[in-house]
């Protein structure tokens, strides 16, 4: 398709009503699967619930409904399956917190052995189940190149257990285990654990990041991933109103600012090499992103921590330079 540049939201994202019917999202189709259907117990404004529906509906379309899912322990599992209810309209298996990748590998191998290799396998986990407790099984799955699409819904913390810090929590964020008390200014500074980059180091066929701010981009990446075989990894930023201290009506807005500030680079990689980035039209200062979130409120009080905000700004600038995110710039 010709690239559309519709700037009414300040990004490249386009609303369905402005597009030709053939280019609209799966979500605009009344016949979508509704893989995770209404009535579940997610918080209002939950980014993960939104992303899961978009990802799975797109995967269902791509696989023509021939798909099964594996889910790690976490918010997504808890809010969707309180016995005797289930929000899932796709085959769904939950085993443990740290083993979704290995369970999915077993499912894929079993289907192959039974001559049911046409059935695709999608695994889902939060950032804890992916970058922390699940990384061993996930790395094993990548290394064996098992035929699984693994999706991480990254809300940057252990939200299900009460907003504790995870390996994906950004520097300076206040969580239940990184409160800004004493001389501590929220979560410790570090380079952060970038699972997409770690995944790329395994040279798997496809790695991509996305946010819930651009559902066209998210759906397209799911479709691309599903068109391939072997291990594929999709890392979706999903703001959490509870854990981030954002308004439940700001979920999409915050996700968009994360990308446009450069703090969350949106890109894709094939066989371990960057293959495309989602450009930023206008770089947003990190402060614009941070100020919407109570977890960073301690940076802006009196006296606040302008030096810390400055460090975060430098981190965003480095990310923009590294991935070549600004429009007109080449990586």
């Amino acid at each position: 398709m010709t690239e559309l540049k519709l700037y009414q939201v300040g990004t490249f994202a386009a609303g369905n009503r402005l597009l030709d019917a053939s280019e609209r999202t799966e979500q605009s189709d009344a016949g979508r699967t509704n893989s995770i259907t209404s009535g579940h117990r997610a918080c209002r404004g939950c980014g993960e619930a939104l992303a899961a529906r978009v990802v799975l509906d797109a995967a269902m379309r791509a696989s023509d409904g021939r798909m099964v899912t594996v889910n790690a322990t976490g918010c997504l599992e808890v809010f969707s399956t309180p016995y005797p209810e289930s929000a899932w309209r796709v085959p769904w298996l939950h085993s443990l917190f740290g083993n979704a990748a290995a369970v999915a590998s077993g499912v894929a191998a079993s289907l192959r052995a039974q001559g049911r290799g046409d059935v695709r396998v999608v695994a889902q986990a939060g950032d804890g189940g992916t970058v922390d407790i699940g990384i061993g099984c996930l790395s094993g799955m990548f290394e064996r190149n098992d035929d699984v699409l693994f999706v991480c819904y990254d809300n940057q913390g252990y939200m299900n257990t009460g907003v504790q810090r995870s390996g994906a929590t950004p520097p300076a964020a206040s969580t239940a285990t990184t409160r800004p008390v004493g001389s501590r200014v929220g979560n410790a500074f570090g380079t952060g654990k970038s699972l997409p980059v770690i995944a790329m180091a395994h040279q798997i066929p496809y790695v991509a990041t996305a946010t819930v701010a651009d559902l066209h981009d998210l759906e397209r990446k799911v479709a691309t991933a599903m068109s391939m075989h072997g291990s594929r990894y999709l890392h979706v930023l999903v703001p959490c109103p509870l854990g981030w201290g954002t308004s439940s009506s700001d979920t999409v807005r915050v996700a968009r600012l994360a990308a446009e500030s450069g703090l969350f680079p949106v890109f894709e990689a094939v066989d371990g090499e960057i293959d495309g980035v989602r450009r930023i039209r206008r770089q947003v200062p990190v402060e614009e992103y941070l100020r919407l979130q109570a977890r960073f409120a301690h940076l802006f009080g009196d006296p606040g921590h302008p030096d810390v905000v400055e460090r975060l700004q430098r981190q965003a600038d480095r990310s923009i330079a590294h991935f070549g995110l600004l429009e007109g710039e080449q990586r």
């Binding site: 016995y83 443990l96 369970v103 191998a109």
Partner: protein, 408 residues
């Protein structure tokens, strides 16, 4: 047909004939020869369309088996010792989800201190994981139990652990009759899962259950386990009809008739003990032997009935329940609660120390003479000199261990 073959190889060939869909394993001594052989058998096309997953950990191995089973496939793994502990989180998950995974445990001690040799601490640490636990007394029985394990597991939808002594059995070459394909097929029909991941019939497997129904789920699991006692015996009987061999079942008794002193144990030490029982019977001592083949579920009625006429029972266990006694000893004491039978709780053979004929003989003779302690726990093969030199100074006192050691 009897063939000279290593125990591990025989088990691997048997598992291949059980037509697994997925074998997922991570190497650990002394399980390695089993998975090495299975890797070859799969690569050679001698295990049907089986997929062999070389996973990154035992936790990954059991997790892959969970996925494979939930997708409708027959799944198998093998491990030992620390590997079993590393997959411990996934064990109650497999049983709770009613996935009939079969696993060999090449029994080995638990560290620290690190020790690769045989005892039963690993399996017994997972006593309450909801798995059926069978113990092989010989390599022939190990082979036979694997066929029976798949049959039992899949008919009840309960996972089964087959325990075989590390090195003592896994690495022993001897004449073994590996069931042929026709025999296995006659016993083991294709796997029919209870619930399966299927795009045509979407189901939710592994939902969260709160206080309103969790007890009921566990009650059903407990009932199922106890009901499996009948199934385990029935499968052993069917196995006998098909192969002509008596293997498996709940317990094995040897010269129990009129036995005044009965030694009870499990695993490969039963063979040694049977020889000693023969010797002592020849010398006129009324001793007998009871082997526990099915450790979980615990065949309480069979064991109580088997021991009803004894006056003394010597429980010989290769696993220590630190701070109490032995795991098996506690089970036997509870089984005999209210009876007049005296129970001697004895630990021996830890971390690969051989359980010798001399040791078993001494225990039985002392029991017959009433000289064996029944107070708490007897360390039957303790090197007293070594213990005194290294440890005893800090341990004697309230613990009241009574050494019966080789040093005396």
């Amino acid at each position: 047909m009897l063939r000279q073959v290593e125990g591990s190889r025989a088990v691997a060939e048997t598992v291949a004939r059980c037509r697994p869909d997925v074998v997922a394993a991570y190497p650990i001594s002394p399980q390695t020869h089993i998975v090495e052989a299975l890797s070859d058998l799969v690569a050679e096309g001698r295990a049907g369309r089986c997929e062999f997953l070389m996973v990154e950990s035992e936790f990954g191995a059991m997790s892959a088996c969970i996925g494979a089973s939930a997708a409708g496939g027959r799944a198998y793994t093998a491990t030992a010792s620390q590997g079993l502990l590393f997959m411990a989180e996934a064990l109650p998950n497999a049983s709770g989800l009613r996935l009939p995974v079969v696993m060999t445990v090449a029994n080995r001690a638990l560290g620290a201190p690190i020790n690769i040799w045989n005892d039963h601490s690993d399996a017994m640490s997972q006593r309450d994981a909801g798995w059926i636990q069978l113990f092989a007394s010989s390599n022939q029985e190990a082979v036979d139990l694997h066929v029976q394990a798949f049959v039992v597991a899949e008919s009840l939808h309960v996972p089964v652990m087959v325990n075989m002594d590390g090195f003592v059995l896994t690495h022993a070459m001897e004449g073994i009759d590996v069931p042929d394909q026709d025999e296995v097929d006659a016993l083991l029909p294709p796997f029919r899962p209870l619930h399966v991941l299927d795009p045509d019939h979407p189901v939710t497997i592994g939902a969260m259950v709160g206080p309103e129904a969790f007890t009921e789920v566990k009650y059903l699991e407990a009932r199922r386990q106890l009901r499996s006692l009948d199934a385990i015996q029935e499968v052993a009987d069917r196995f006998h009809r098909v192969t002509g061999r008596r293997s498996g079942g709940l317990t094995s008794s040897y010269r129990l008739e009129d036995a005044d002193v009965v030694l009870i144990g499990l695993g490969s030490l039963l063979g040694t003990a049977a020889d000693v029982v023969d010797e002592l019977r020849d010398e006129g001592l009324a001793v007998g032997l009871l082997g526990v083949t099915c450790f979980r579920p615990w065949p309480l009625d069979e064991i109580r009935d088997s021991l009803a006429d004894a006056s003394r029972v010597v429980v010989l266990n290769r696993a220590l329940s630190v701070g109490f006694g032995t795991v098996l000893g506690a089970d036997v004491r509870l089984t005999l609660a209210g009876s007049q039978v005296v129970v001697h709780d004895v630990v021996a053979g830890l971390g690969g120390r051989p359980v010798t004929r001399d040791l078993v003989r001494r225990l039985l003779v002392e029991a017959v003479r009433g000289e064996l302690s029944d107070h708490q726990l007897t360390f039957a093969d303790l090197d007293v000199d070594l213990a005194e030199r290294e440890l005893l100074g800090e341990l004697v006192g309230p613990m009241d261990v009574e050494p019966e050691g080789v040093g005396r």
